[in-house]
Symmetry: D2
Subunit: 163 residues, 4 copies
């Protein structure tokens, strides 16, 4: 029976300390629920922190990599999927996630949020300004919550999963 | 010798009359320069109008389709590329464009603008509010012009191409 | 630390009883080694049987799906990856596998073997004629073993993994 | 109205002189019919020769590149499509071709022939042994002609196009 995968997306090299810390606690909290944490898999920023948090809670982690081998793979990824799709892999990230949580914002993360909305996947935003939320809200009739804490983000994910 | 391809992206089913008219005139104007017009190829909205405008000027058009065959193909597309990649084809659209012009905004178009910025492709915006431009401008250090007329958009493309 | 993923590829709707039985025992045997079994994820043929075998041995299974949602997903897949790439997902299958085992042959499986050889991934063949092996052997300087039993296939995988 | 695109696939770095010469004459002959020649776009082997032949006849050429920019692009490609999909772009090659002609054989070409058969695209083989044709013929119920001359290949394409 398929496990529930929750995606955590966010900046890589340019992630701020607050984004990294939030991503770690998000990964930890989601893994505690028994959910699988899915990220872009690289050993940097939000991706790496979310996987590290999930592993600290004894969880399972999936990384969807842009390249064809493991040279930039986070050591906290259990299941590396090598796509060699470059940034086209961003669409695989969101399609494979039951809910997409964006923690911080950059060009890659923005593409993932937009692709999630296009595909009808629920999105939760963290570590962004209300103006960013307002922009994405114009692209969809579904509600896009801006969660100020990890506890609120967890509740939003529960709402979307109806659990 | 490779021709210069300029991408025109924008809403499909939800395009407004102003977006459709602007896309038509954009396609016409770019084709007059001898450039190839590239779109998402479907027979609706900005994609179809841009190709129709380019054909009216005697130009050449390329459509990058999300599916594997021609059932929703615009009749104004000369060169249909069937990707069967779904929305992952949005990355092919922007990588194949020397400059990306977004005419109007929706979830798919937002993903294309974000992917273009991620890949370092120049972007020109039309038919969006200053707030939308301001959001995308936070994602890159390159300048993202908001062109109020087709003539200004043409000048911005010329600047990016350095011609 | 990344788990070891082994791919099992083969016919879907057209799989023979012998191919299905072999795929089941392959999945069981690989899972017993602690390896993760990766397949194309659909609920039919070699894909489904390999995942069912792996689950019977208490293993973990990954399915790389051609579509964007779970309507044709095998119930024996733990980690579904929805690519919406159509058959372009075949390249993701092989790139994500440390070793690719083809059990039976069809057009899709042939593309996976060829893509694996192109990417330098080791391939083990089962349930094919020596003529099929001979054809693929012309495409690479690496050795492509044709394993007559699951035990031999396991040994070939061990050789490739150097364990 | 969409032009007719015919794909010419074959070895890159490892192409033989006979394959290169045949590819050049194929490209020339197909372009004479008014058809667009589609290849993998790199500046080597069958891809480059087919495009050069097509240009010598005044034709139009499309190259579907594995990378994200033009550093290995054949100068005989008019319309470069940059996919950044690696070898997953092979599926785009065959889906965008009304008929796929394979001229010579290697791992990449074999994946293209198999993907074409999977998608139901007609295939013509050149510069391969009857054993290679016999292998691919086992993967489909459609006929796969082995054309010994460019004139015969042209006739086979005409038959498939029903013109």
């Amino acid at each position: 029976m398929a496990r529930i995968l929750i995606g955590i997306m966010g900046p890589g090299e340019t992630a701020t300390p607050a984004e990294v810390e939030t991503a770690y606690r998000l990964g930890y909290t989601l893994a505690e629920q028994g959910w699988v944490v899915l990220t872009g898999g690289r050993n940097v920023g939000v991706m790496a922190a979310a996987c590290q948090g999930a592993k600290a809670a004894g969880g399972l982690t999936v990384g969807i990599l842009p390249g064809d081998r493991g040279d930039r793979l986070s050591t906290a990824v259990d299941i590396p999927i090598f796509t060699d799709l470059g940034n086209a892999r961003n669409n695989v990230n969101v399609l494979s996630s039951r809910v997409v949580i964006a923690c911080g914002m950059g060009a890659g993360t923005a593409s993932e949020v937009a692709l999630a909305l296009k595909a009808g996947r629920p999105v939760v935003l963290m570590q962004v300004t209300p103006a960013v939320r307002d922009f994405f809200q114009t692209l969809t009739t579904n509600s896009i919550p801006l969660a100020e804490t990890v506890a609120i983000a967890l509740q939003e994910v529960r709402n979307f999963l109806d659990v």
